[in-house]
Amino acid sequence: MKFYRLSLVVLTLALALFLSAAFSAPPAAPANPPQEVLTVWGWDDFLPDAFAEYQKAHPEITLNYTVVEKSEMLQRFKLALALNQPLPDICILESETLDGIDGSELFLDLEEAPYSLPRDQVLEFRLAQFENAQGHLWAVPATLSASGIAYNRAIAQAFLQTEDPVQVGIVFSSWADVISKGLKFRKQFPEKAMFASLEDAAVMLFGQSRTPYLQNNTLLQPYRFLNAFQILDALQEAGLALSYQQYSPQWMNSLETDQVFFYPCSLWLMSMGIFHTGQSWGFTRAPSGSYAWGGTVWAIPKTSRHAEAAWNFIQAVLLSPSGAAYAKNHGTGTLISYSPAYAEEGYQDLIMEDFAGQNIGKMYFDQIFPEVQTRPAGENEALLKEVYLQTVRTMMGTPEMNGEEAYALFLQKLRQRLPDYQEESA
């Protein structure tokens, strides 16, 4: 009897508990619980791939990554500002395309608390461009802008009987050497060219200047452009440059052939993997020295609602040993601007298979990086470069245009864009 009563009570209780649990069960958790979403615009895979790694330890954060072509990024950014549309939580900006953008007004002071960016941990030579009125950085350099030149080893071997980077750099140590040797090259290899695009030489020339271009609305040393256009004209006249537009499909496809000898090259370009084409490449200093080309910075808008999450991510990727290691192992590998990483033995070594196992890092830090000197920030430099490259493309589209005509066109276009600018007298 006792057992019966006990069993009855136990079963009744069990049924009551079961029904209670079944009917009071909380609603199923939504498939995607609310997460903090970081919005970023970019043009390559580095950031989304880095985020995928980062998310493993931070599953509460997700990434909304929009692909915006490199060439359209600035315009997209300016349009968003103009239309008062939300900016991405991490703005990836090219170092050279900050015209009209008052970074100190738009972006957070990263040297202030709670961010406290340690300035001495940043390895870049143009930090002045990213300083606010207090002299604090509002952006973190991501990719290094000091650049050299990539050359096709097969062509080098055929033309110079050497493919050694140092030797090649010595042979083509100046633009005059490029032109003079180029004529011989053209004769020897009529189907080949020194450059896939006149823009390639143009960006090198543009970035080799040590002084600002525009200051106080005055075009300083305007003859620099005349000189540049003359060199470009000579290259075009000698048939040393093809007429591909830089980064166009034709330009990109030319990397897969042994048609072109030289390409402008920086660490960030290598990390895009565009040299993984089956050709064997070498990396050396550019004619007349290293130049500043590209390079990006990451900044956090003041209007961002996820500033803390964005900063944490930036720190992890750009300002940490793990971030430095990740960058070195991502894709073909690249070196970031985190200076403490370079104190570690072997960090500078960056061996690339596409470059025949050349230690790119050694070349970069032995020759390329030291040659690039700090060039103070100029005014409207992006606009100036845009006009400059437009003029170069005009030269490409109008083969009969010479250097002087190109220079005149350049000044004309510049006047259209900056009606009040003045030219420094000689």
Partner: protein, 588 residues
């Protein structure tokens, strides 16, 4: 036959108790009913949930398609504005535009397209050249040069890839003729708005949920597949991507939502399991619920059934008890139903059977007594007594004293026989001795000097009762079957001694003895002796022995065993032990 065998086998597994069978049967019924109800309920709820989820998912798909439609509308607006733009018109009209004009046209296109993520770039197709706004100098699309008469109506192209070094561009295009605004029927070029399918893919990917992925179809071709491929696995199950929003397939449904104004359709496969969602929890719920209810019901039911079938158990136990011989069995049932009636009837039946049995025993006793009376009446008719008295008178008149003594002895014997006839079944040993002495007196006259009788009766036993007409027949048998056939005189000894609480009686003669088989028959009892009596043709002597045996059985029951010791030529002894019955007692 097989169901029957199976049922018997199943039944044999249960203990042979009605309560268990009842509880099992009812419990099984509850389990079956609960299971059927659960099954029906689950499917009903699952169906409802499926329909609701389908509706919800179709709405979500429609909303996503509407977002795409919104982008397409923007595209159309941009296209219309571009087509109407004078700069574009001018470019199309310009013969052999130089690079500046190409660049200006490219800038125009770039300005219009920069507002929309999905719009990658644009092409102006002319008969002599193709202008790509991204790279005005690039000749990648030169193959698309189109003469005016080959310009197609507006529409969307198939997806295509543009190889660009290690990467490639994945694009589709919306193309529309550029009409001369001054002469609208004249086509002056074709405008291609290139759609960035990678952007579209990432936008659709942002809409995907773990169990709800989307595929973008262009006609019947998969343009942007679902990340896991789930949508594409069963596409062959549907005949065509139709306008039907919901298309059932074997294991789920296909939801489709066309993107109006385009050849694109958003498609999502929803498996039954995902649509049922938490309904699958109901399976576990119903199983556990059915099990708990079944156990609870079984527990309660077992007690109720036990209460109802307890009277049956009581009845069964009573029957078993009665069958084992307890004729006083009575059962007590107060269930206020047919079982109580059954119990009462059982009790009545037991009492009645008991009564009938008692009656039968009585009847048997009476029957035996009557038979005994018949036996007595056969040996001692009443009229003989009167006639013998007349003989005494006549013998006295004739001065024949021996006749008088003999007849008086005979009368004594007859009087003793009458006492038996009057229900005197027991008499004192002294009285029985006197009967025997009277009998011997008579026989002595008949057989002079042939035998002598020794009375060895223990003093103090004279008043003990003994069954009447037991000793005399044995003495008679000893005389006639033992001594008379013998040459010479013989002696007969009648011994009665007390042995513990019994009378030990011996009737011994030194006559001719009995055949061993006859001695054995006598020892077997009245039945065996009666059968032998038939063979010996009902002789008086046989009657006497049978009577002795029957009388002993009747009065004392079976425990009285008549033993015979006999040796041919030496003599015979009849021995038996009787219970001590003092005067005033009985043999029962």
């Amino acid at each position: 036959m097989r169901p029957l065998i199976l049922r018997r086998r199943l039944a044999s597994l249960l203990p042979p108790r009605l309560s268990v069978k009842l509880a099992a049967a009812l419990g099984a019924l509850v389990l079956v009913m609960t299971s059927v109800t659960s099954f029906v309920s689950y499917h009903y709820f699952a169906h409802i949930l499926t329909q609701e989820n389908l509706k919800k998912d179709a709405q979500v798909l429609r909303q996503n398609a509407q977002q795409l439609e919104s982008s397409v509308q923007e595209l159309m607006i941009i296209t219309r504005n571009l087509l109407a733009d004078p700069q574009l018109q001018q470019f199309c009209h310009t013969e052999d535009p130089d690079y500046f004009q190409r660049e200006e046209a490219a800038e125009l296109l770039t300005r219009y397209l920069s507002v929309q993520d999905l719009l990658h770039s644009a092409l102006i197709l002319r008969e002599d050249q193709v202008l790509w706004n991204l790279y005005p100098l690039d000749q990648t699309f030169d193959a698309l040069k189109t003469p005016p008469d080959e310009i197609r109506p507006a529409g969307f192209t198939e997806a295509f890839q543009v190889h660009s070094g290690v990467d490639s561009l994945w694009l589709a295009a919306y193309h529309t003729p550029i009409s001369d605004l001054a002469h609208p029927q004249q086509k002056i070029g074709e405008l291609w708005i290139l759609l960035d399918l990678r952007q579209l893919e990432s936008r659709i990917a942002a809409w995907n949920l773990p169990q709800q992925e989307m595929t973008l179809m262009q006609g019947q071709t998969v343009l942007i597949p679902s990340p896991s491929g789930i949508n594409e696995q069963r596409l062959d199950a549907i005949n065509a991507i139709s306008s039907a929003a919901v298309q059932p397939v074997r294991s789920g449904y296909y939801l489709t939502s066309p993107v109006e104004g385009t050849p694109y359709t958003l498609l999502s496969y929803r498996p039954h399991a995902a649509l049922r969602g938490r309904a699958s929890f109901l399976i576990v719920f119903f199983i556990l619920f059915s099990l708990l209810i079944f156990l609870l019901f079984l527990l309660i039911l077992s007690r109720i059934v036990k209460q109802f079938t307890a009277p049956l158990t009581t009845l069964t136990d009573g029957l078993n008890q009665f069958a084992s011989g307890d004729l006083t069995t009575q059962i007590d049932i107060h269930s206020h139903d047919e079982l109580e009636v059954l119990g009462d009837t059982f009790n009545t039946m037991v009492v009645r059977i008991h009564q009938l049995l008692d009656q039968a025993v009585e009847d048997e006793k009476i029957r035996k007594k009557l038979k005994f009376d018949m036996m007595i009446s056969k040996i001692h008719p009443h009229f003989i007594y009167n006639t013998l008295n007349s003989v005494i008178v006549m013998a006295r008149r004739g001065g024949n004293q021996e006749v008088v003594d003999m007849v008086r002895a005979l009368i004594l014997i007859l009087q003793d026989g009458m006492a038996v006839h009057e229900d005197l079944l027991m008499d004192t040993i002294a009285r029985e001795r006197s009967v025997i002495e009277a009998y011997v007196t008579i026989q002595n006259y008949r057989y002079k000097q042939k035998f002598s009788v020794v009375y060895d009766i223990e003093p103090g036993l004279e008043e003990q009762l003994i069954a009447k007409n037991i000793l005399q027949p044995l003495v008679e048998n000893a005389i006639f079957h033992g001594i008379i056939p013998k040459d010479g005189p013989g002696q007969l000894t009648l011994s009665i001694h007390r042995r513990q609480d019994q009378l030990h009686v011996e009737v011994r003669d030194d006559g001719v003895g009995l055949r061993p088989e006859l001695a054995a028959l006598i020892e077997q009892g009245a039945e065996a002796l009666s059968a032998h009596r038939q063979a010996e043709k009902n002789s008086v002597h046989s009657i006497a022995l049978v009577n002795v045996c029957e009388r002993l059985e009747f009065l004392y029951g079976h425990p009285v065993h008549l033993k015979v010791q006999s040796e041919l030529g030496k003599g015979t002894a009849f021995l038996f032990d009787l219970p001590l019955v003092p005067k005033g007692g009985s043999t029962s």
